[in-house]
């Protein structure tokens, strides 16, 4: 049985259909990428899974449980967690406190016990701190735990977001453009790191990514979205040779479909670069 199943998922914003009758399945333990031109509905789809948006139609189920009517914290409790396209850390908290917030769900002592500082609280806090330190080490942030999250350099903030998500002990991790704004060597490190997450911790990974080198290198399957609809699905090799995908990225030559070409070409740097990589790879 697939870990995540989406059936006929639709999300509208006024007249705009951001995600249109999307069917999608995700196998346990796989690494799957969602790609597509800017505005294709990738992040909207993520937000539907994570509970940020209520879907306007269709259903999403995780490990057999329907989740499309749950609140984000309930979805987190089912062990789905995510990172964000524009890094969203708790900026005025220290790095290690960010990770500790991720563990919030596992800390059960009532507030009155915290006030009395009972032995249970002390032990729970000590264990939580140990785990948080371990997570910081795992993402390569040891020694920086006491720095305010907002003051960390960009790359460290991306890692800290992953550490915070890992602190919730997710089974499914949604990564929204994890390598955005990184240089090639950092991208390579992040790719290897994502693969390790799956291999070491058995976390299923769904990512949105523009950088084709990363996508092709890491994904076992790829789903291509365009105008909120699924354009193609398959292994990296199948996607690279798919006529419709190349068309969506480059536009249909000579057919007068200017807008598609403009959208692919005029979109921000990543997708323009992506277009060349798709054909060139």
């Amino acid at each position: 049985m697939p870990l995540l199943t989406a059936q006929q998922v639709t999300k509208r914003f006024g007249g705009l259909v951001a995600v249109n009758s999307l069917d999608f399945t995700l196998e346990q333990g796989s690494i799957v990428s969602v790609i597509g031109p800017n505005g294709a509905g990738k992040t909207t789809f993520f937000n539907c899974i994570a509970g940020f948006y209520k879907t306007d139609g269709g259903s999403i189920s995780f490990d057999g449980t329907p989740i499309n009517n749950l609140r984000p914290d309930q979805i987190a409790a089912l062990r789905i967690n995510r990172t964000y396209q524009n890094i969203r850390l708790f900026q005025n908290m220290s790095a290690i406190e960010n990770v500790l917030v991720g563990q919030h769900r596992h800390l059960h002592t009532p507030w009155i016990a915290s006030v009395l500082n009972t032995r249970g609280v002390r032990e729970e806090e000590a264990a939580a701190l140990d785990e948080a330190r371990e997570l910081l080490r795992y993402v390569g942030l040891q020694g920086r735990g006491d720095i305010l999250a907002g003051k960390l350099p960009y790359g460290d903030q991306r890692r800290l977001e992953v550490a915070r998500a890992l602190a919730t002990r997710p089974r499914l991790l949604l990564l929204d453009e994890p390598t955005a704004g990184m240089n090639p060597s950092e991208k390579q490190q992040m790719t290897a790191f994502i693969r390790r997450l799956r291999d070491d911790k058995g976390i299923t990974i769904l990512l949105i990514e523009h950088e084709m080198r990363v996508v092709m290198g890491i994904s076992e399957r790829i789903t291509v979205l365009n105008y909120g609809e699924k354009l193609a699905e398959g292994t990296p090799r199948e996607i690279q040779t798919d006529e419709r995908v190349i068309e969506a990225y480059l536009g249909r030559s000579g057919s007068g479909d200017e807008s598609a070409a403009q959208r692919a070409g005029g979109a921000a740097e990543p997708s323009a670069g992506a277009a060349t990589t798709v054909t060139g790879a």
């Binding site: 984000p72 708790f90 915290s114 500082n117 305010l148 390790r196």
Partner: protein
């Protein structure tokens, strides 16, 4: 180097190094406007009633001297030019400011300004002209030039010397302000002669001023040469208690004997400060930690106060005549109940809308309390009176009157500070902070928003309810008119001034915004003027508050020896190679 090239003479005669006079004139004009404002709004004449150094200078004169001197100092501060240029700029700016005051005297001698500005009186002109009357209209101009030039000279001093002088003068002003308050209790102590030497009934004696100045400068120099701050920081964290513990003991003894030595007026002021500390710590949970701006916070205070009133009053509206101690748990409980009751419907509201909604709740409670509808129950505008004191002691007992409230309020504030501190460090405290930082992400990280926000309201309300209970016992009565919107705003302001989310910040904020105005009741007319000025200055120069909360070090005390921060860079690479 510039000074060597162009001597003082060269600069005054022909300022070759382009002397930019425009900012100087602008600062002079601003200084003049400030001085004029101080005079016309009545601060100078009113403060003139009160001496700073007896027979030498009054508070009003101090204000004028300071504004003229500051004008000159600010004008020279950004100047990089020669010594002469500095004197010139200071004198020019001070002169312009002085000229404005001269103009006031001149105009005032011709036009009956008093019809419009009540404070433009002959007494003010006499003050400005050193008793020469309107014919001495030139006096402020000359004084301005002299003080401005003096400030120019002051800016030439070495920073360290300047700082010492600055500390000395500031100490004299502060001691002068508090002289009367300190003197009274000292007169009945073994230090009586010292008190008579240093302090007049109001203000310092000239000898006292000189001694204060000398002691302040000496202490400042001692602190600097020995660098006490660094020496304290050098103490390892597990040994710091050897420094802190004696200080804490001395402080607690001082706190305990304070009402006995300084008299009950001080005790009452501190009790009021402690009340606001309780409310401040309560709102610090909802606003400072969870980021929920509640402008109706006084409602919970009211619930606590009315509960104690109803349960303990021996007057006509009392229903139980319980003791204060039996009523307090109920006061806190009902406040919490109201916190939940008010919190539930507004949980989904964010930001500005939340502020407006909570303000509405606060007003509803105030109007209800004073309404005819609840008059049979709460006494309407006449309120509940005859609330007994917590300890029933004879009037000559050391716990009599406001003294016992002082101890109760302090104990309450200390208890609440302790609870707030523990909560801040708990996982609940972290969840609140996360909600303040980014509500959506906090929820996606697994925090139940409804539960967590509601707890913030309930606990915040509990603290305010305790404050209200103590207030009812302090005053002995509770009226609808005590539940003003301004109380809520005061509490918000003291949190902002102290530093959002910081527990010591709440205490400092309450001392500054509540304690000081209470101590200087005679200037209460200008209370909100200073209040507004202080708030604007805070927002402009120190928006993080007086004592912002600091990051608690959580990682390093275990991991500091393992790897230096730089090594972390390689970690991902290492992982990559391994994987």
């Amino acid at each position: 180097m510039t000074r060597a090239l162009a001597g003082p003479g060269a600069a005054t005669v022909a300022p070759r190094v382009a002397f930019d006079w425009r900012p100087v004139v602008r600062i002079g004009a601003i200084g003049g406007a400030v001085s004029l404002y101080l005079c016309l709004v009545g601060i100078v004449p009113v403060f003139n009633q009160r001496p700073l150094i007896i027979g030498v200078i009054s508070l009003g004169q101090t204000a004028l001297v300071l504004s003229l001197f500051a004008t000159g100092f600010v004008a020279t501060r950004k100047l990089t030019g020669t010594a002469g240029a500095r004197f010139l700029a200071g004198g020019l700016a001070g002169g312009i400011a002085g000229a404005v005051l001269s103009a006031l005297v001149l105009v005032g001698s011709v036009v009956p300004l008093r019809n419009v500005f009540l404070n433009a009186s002959p007494e003010l002109y006499d003050l400005l002209t050193f008793g020469l009357g309107t014919s001495g209209f030139w006096a402020p101009l000359v004084t301005g030039i002299a003080l401005g030039a003096l400030a120019g000279g002051f800016s030439l001093l070495r920073p360290r010397l300047r700082r010492s002088l600055y500390v000395g003068f500031l100490s004299v002003v502060i001691m002068g302000l508090f002289a009367g308050l300190i003197r009274t209790p000292l007169l009945s102590s073994p230090l009586e002669n010292l008190a008579r030497l240093l302090f007049a009934p109001e203000g310092l004696t000239p000898v006292g001023a000189v001694i204060t100045f000398a002691v302040a400068v000496a202490l400042n120099e001692y602190r600097r040469t020995n660098d006490l701050g660094r020496r304290y920081r050098a103490v390892p964290s597990d040994r710091r208690w050897t420094v802190i513990a004696p200080a804490a003991v001395v402080l607690s003894i001082a706190v305990l004997i304070l009402p006995q030595t300084l008299g009950s007026f001080f005790a009452q002021v501190i009790a009021i400060v402690a009340l606001y500390v309780m409310m401040g710590l309560g709102l610090n949970i909802t606003l400072g930690l969870a980021g929920l701006l509640d402008l109706g916070f006084v409602a919970f205070f009211a619930v606590g106060a009315y509960t104690v009133g109803l349960l303990t009053s021996t007057g006509e509206y009392g229903i139980a005549q319980w003791s204060f101690w039996a009523a307090v748990p109920f006061a806190v409980f009902f406040a919490m109940l109201f916190g939940a009751f008010l919190g539930l419907p507004i949980l989904g509201i964010r930001g500005d809308y939340l502020a407006i909604a909570t303000m509405g709740f606060g007003e509803i409670i105030r109007i209800l309390a004073g309404s005819d509808l609840l008059k049979p129950l709460l006494g309407g505008p006449r309120g509940i009176t005859n609330i007994p004191k917590p300890f029933d002691v004879p009037p000559d007992h050391w716990l009599a009157g406001p003294n016992q409230i002082y101890y109760i309020a302090l104990a309450g504030a200390a208890l609440i500070a302790f609870i707030a501190w523990r909560l801040r460090g708990s996982h609940l405290g972290r969840a609140w902070l996360a909600i303040r930082e980014d509500e959506d992400v906090a929820e996606a990280t697994g925090i139940n928003l409804v539960q967590t926000k509601l707890l913030a309201y309930i606990l915040g309300a509990a603290f305010a309810g305790l404050g209200g209970a103590v207030f009812a016992a302090l005053v002995g009565s509770i009226f609808a008119s005590s539940i003003q919107l301004i109380v809520s705003i005061n509490v918000v302001a003291l949190i902002i001034v102290g530093g959002m989310g910081s527990i010591p910040g709440v205490v400092v904020g309450a001392i500054f915004l509540i304690g000081l105005p209470e101590l200087f009741r005679e200037f209460s007319e200008y209370r909100y003027l200073f209040y507004g000025f202080a708030l604007i200055a805070m927002m402009r120069f120190r928006p993080e508050g007086l004592l912002p909360s600091r990051v608690t070090l959580r990682e390093l005390h275990v991991a500091e020896n393992e790897q230096p921060p730089d090594a972390a860079e390689g970690a991902l690479v290492a992982q990559e190679e391994a994987g």
